[in-house]
Amino acid sequence: MTQLIWLTIALPILGLLINGLFGRRFLGNRVVSIIAPLMVLLAFLVGVGAFFETMGRDGEAVTVHLWNWTTIGDFSVPINLLVDPLSLTMVLVVTGVGFLIHVYATDYMVHRDDHGHAHDDRDFPRFFTFLNLFIASMLVLVLGDNYLMMYVGWELVGVSSYLLIGYWFDRPSEEQTPIDLGPDTEPVQLQPLLSPAASGMKAFIVNRIGDVGFALGVFLIWSTFGTLQFDEVFAEAVHVSETMPTVIPWITALLFVGAIGKSAQLPLYVWLPDAMAGPTPVSALIHAATMVTAGVYMIVRSNILYSLAPNVSLWIAIIGMATAFFAATIALVQVDLKRVLAYSTVSQLGYMFAAVGVGAYTAGMFHLVTHAFFKALLFLGAGSVMHALHDVIDIRRMGGLKDKMKITWITFWIGGLALAGFPLMSGFFSKDEILAHVFEASPILWFFGILTAGMTAFYTFRAIFIAFHGKPRDHHLYEHAHENRAPITFALSVLAVLAIFGGLLGLPAFMGFTHYLDGWLEHVLYELPHGAEEHHMSVTMEYILMGTSAVIAVGGIALAYFFYMVQPSIPQNIARSLRSLFALLAHKYWIDELYDTLFVQPGLKLSNAFANGLDKLIIDETFIDGSAKLVGRFGKLLSKLENGYTSNYALATFIGVLIMISYFFLR
C-alpha cells in the first residue's frame, strides 16, 4: 500500500472528474453521493494499509517517485510522495474525518420540504466535486516530499476553500438581528454578514497575503540550500545555521507568515469567521479539522529549522497564545452558533502554535488530531441543528432542542466536553500536554493559556445551554425541529466516540502510561546535536498543572450553567453595565473595519488615482496622444497629405525609412 499511496490523491481526483463532468447531466444526485464518499473511503483504506506497513517498518520513511516536475539548470523538483509517520497521521485524519463528513454531507446538502421530499438540487454534484478536490489538495500538501509540493497543496486547499465557501455564490449578504440587552436599553447593532461570494474571495486574498511570505520562504530555502527536498534541507540545516546564522530565522519566519494566513492566526485570522458562510460540512472539514491545521503540520515537518531558530519559535508561541486568548474573548458573546465555533477554532489553533513554538511538536500534533475529532463533531452538530431548523443558526432562536434531537444533543455535549477540556475527554489530555510544555517555557504564557481554557469551557457551554436546554424561544422552529437522518447521526456518533477516546493516543507519560504518539512521531523529529539539556519538571508539578486544568474546565462549565440555566438575568446585566466592552467584543474589536480603512480603501483609492489620473490623463492623453497631436500639427503645416488613411501613414513611414537607409549608404 505504501507504493500505492498516490492512490489516496488519485481516487478523489477520479471522483471529482466523474462527478464534475457527468454528475449534473448523467449520474444524478444519488450516484454522486455514493461516488464522492466512496473515493475518500478507498483513499482512507489505502492510508490504513500504508499505516500498518509503516508500523511494521518501525516508522522508517519511504519516498514514492512519480515523475520529474520541473527541471531548469540547477533547479529540479520531482513529484515525490513521502510516506512517514507524520504524513500518515495527516492522511488518516484528512481521509478519515473527511470520509465521515462526506457521508454527512450526502444528507445535509439535500434540502427537503416539510413532508421530507428532497428538492431536485442541480448544484449538488458541484458540491461534491469541490469537496473531493479539497481532499486531493490537502493530501498533496501533506504527502509532498519537498517545499514546492507543500506550496502547491497549500495553494490548492486555498482554492478549494474559496470554491466551497462561495458554494452558495448567489446568496446576498445578511443583516443580523441586533442584540437585545433588555428593556429601556438601546440594543447592540451587529455588522451585516458578508455574502458567500465575498467571504470566499476574502478568504482567498487574505490567504494569499500569507502565501507571499510562504513563497519567499521557499525561494530563500532554494537559494540557500540549492534544493527544496525535505531530507536534503534538513540534513544541511545544522551546518547552514552555523555558517549563515541569520538565514534560518528568516526562512522560518517567512514560512510562518504563510501559516498565519492559512491557520488563521493574528493578524490574518479575519477570513475564518466569514468562511462560515460556506455549507457546514465545509466548515467542519476545511475550516476546523484539516486545512487550517496545515500551518501546524508545516512547522512540525520543518521542526529542525524551527528548533534552530529559537527566537522565531518564541514569537510563534507568543502569537499563538495571543490568538488563543483574543479569539476566545470574541467567542464569549457571539450569537451565531457557527461563529462561536469558528472563533473557538482560531483559539484552539493558537494553542497548537503555542505548543510547536515552545518546541512541543508532538503535543501540537496531538491537539491537532483530537481537535479534528471534536471540532468536526461540534460543527457537524451545529449543522444538524441548522438542518433541522431550516438554516437558522442564531442561538437566540433555539432552546430546548435536547428533547427533539437526542443524538445531536448528546454528541454535541461530548464534543463540548472535549473542547472544554473536561477530564478524561480527548481534548483534556492534548490541551493539558500543551499547557504543561508552555508552563515549562514561560509561566506567563501558561497563565494566558489557562485563562483561555476557562473562557473556552464557558463559551462552549453557554452555547450548549442556550441552544439545547431551557425553554424553546421560537415555537414555530421548535415544533418543526426533528432529529436528522442516518448519514448525519452516523457521522456524529463515530466522531463522538473519537472525541471521547482520542486521548488514548497520548496518555500522559508521567502517570506511567505509554504515549503512543510520542513513539510514533519520534522518527520525524530531529534532535539537535548540542541541544539544550532536557529538564523535566517534577511529577508533582505535572499533577498540579493537570489539576488546575481540570478545575478550570469544570469551573467554566459550572459558571455557564449558573449564568444561563440558573440566573439568566446575570449575563444581560453584566453586558448592560459593561456595554462598551460588550459592544467591542460583539463587533470583533472592529478589526475588519480597521483593515478596510487601512488597506482596502487606500488600495482602491490608489487604483482609481492610477487608472483615471496617471494612466488616462497623464501618460495617455498628455504624453502619448499629446505628442502625436504635436507631430500632427507639425505635419499639417508641412503638407495636406494627412487624411487619416492608414495607407498614407504607411507610405510616409516607407519614405522615412528610405531616407534613413540612403543616409547610411551615402554618408
Partner: protein, 491 residues
Amino acid sequence: MILSLLILIPITGAILIAFVPREQENVVKWLALGTTAVALVVSLPLYFGFVDNASGYQFEEFRPWIPPLNIAYHVGIDGLSLFLILLTTFLTLISVLSSWTAITDGLKGYMALMLLLEAAVIGVFVSLDLFLFYLFWEASLIPMALLIGKWGGSRRVYAAVKFIIYTMAGSTLMLVGALVLYVNGGTSDLPTLVNNLELSQNLQIILFFAFALAFSVKVPLFPLHTWLPTAHVEAPTAGSIMLAGVLLKMGTYSYLRFAIPLFPDALAYWSPLLVTLAIVGILYGALVALVQDDVKKLVAYSSVAHMGFIVLGTFSGGQQGMSGAVLQMINHGLSTGMLFFLIGVLYEQRHTRLFSEYGGLWVKVPVFGTYFLLAVFSSVGLPGLNGFVGEFVILLGTFKVNPIAAALGTFGIVLAAWYLLTATRKMMMGPFNEANKNLKDMNLRESGIAFALIALCFVIGFFPNLLFDKINPATVELAEIIKATALLAGQ
C-alpha cells in the same frame, strides 16, 4: 522546409480566399479553418522532431536573398521560438473558430487578414536575419491594424491608428540600429553577428536602447502600454486573442533572441531599469485593472502585469527566470487568449462588456461559468494549471539575484487574485442579473475551443518539463552570457 511551409501555407490560404466570391461565406470560413488546421498539423513535427538538450538552431534553412548585400533568407528555431510557433498556429485556429458566427460582414477580408497575420508572426519567430525579421515585424502590424480598424468597436479607427503609429514609432530606431549592425558587421545574419561582432560597450548601450524600445512598446512595458487597452477594447474577439496571445510575445521573445545576445555588455547598464519597469508594471497593471468597469479592459491591464513577470524573468532571473519567461509567454497566450475568447462569447450575445450588465451568470450558464473560473485560475497562477509554474520559477530565479524585486513581484500575485476574483464575483456570482435571462450556454463549438485551451493549461501545469526540456538548452546559453558580463561588470 517546415518553417517556410508554415509561412507559405497561410499566405496561400489568404490568396485562395481572395478568389472566393464574396457571398460564399461558408467556403471562406472552411477554407480559413482548413488552412489554419493544416498549418497546425504541419507545425507539430517541430515539436516531435525537435532534438532535446541540443544547442544551436534546428530546422534551419538558408537561401541567399540579396547576395550582393549579404542579406539572406535565414530561418531556424530553438527552444525560445519553438513553442511560440506552436502557440501561433494553435491560436490562429482558435481565432478562426471563435469568429465563426461573430463576424457577419466583410468575412472574406477578415479571414484573409487573419491568415496573413499568422504568416507574419511566424515569420517573426523564425527569422535569423535582421532584415528578414524587420520585414515580418512591420508586416505583422498591418493585418492587425486593419482587423481592429474595420471589425472593431465604436472607436476602432482611433485604436487602429494609435496601434500602428505607436508601434511603428517604436520600431523606427530598431531599423536604424539594424543598419548600424549591418554596416559594422557586413552582414545581417544573426548567428554570424552574435559570434563575430565586437562592439564597444557604449555602442552596445545605444543599440540596445534602439532595439529594446521597439520590443518594449510591443510587450508593452510600463509606461509604454497605453495603446494596449485601447486596442483590446476596440478589437474584435479574435483580434484580441491574437494580439494578447502572440503579438505581445514578439516583444519579449525579441529581447531574448536579439537584444541580449547581440548586446551583452549593455545589460549591466539597462537591466536595472527594465527590471524596475517590469516590477512597476506588475503592480501598476494590477492596481489599474482592479477598478476597471469593462471586463476586457481589465484583462488588458492584467496583460500589462503578466507581461511584467516575463520581462522580470528575462532580465533578472538567471536561467530559471529566462526559461520561466519563455514558458510564461506560452501560458499568458493560453490563459489570456481563453479569457478574451470567453468574453467574446458573452459579447456576441449581449453586446456589452460592462460588469454592471452581468452578475450571477454561473446559475444561468454553468458550463461557461466553469470555464471562466478555470481561465481565471490559470491566469491567477494556481498550481495544477500552467501559470503557476511560470510565475514560480521566474520569481524563484529572481529571488536568488534580487530578493527585493522578487518580493515585490510576489506581492503582485496578491493583487492578481484581488482583481481577477473581483471580476469573477461581479460577473459570475451574486444575485442573477435579469438582463441576462436569455443568455445561452456555450454550444459545442465554443466548449470545444474552451476545452482545448484549458486542457493545454492543465498539461503544462502537470508536466512543464515537456516544455522545459526543449527550452532549457536555449536559455542556458543566454544565462552564460549574462553571468559572464555580470562578472566583467563586477571586476
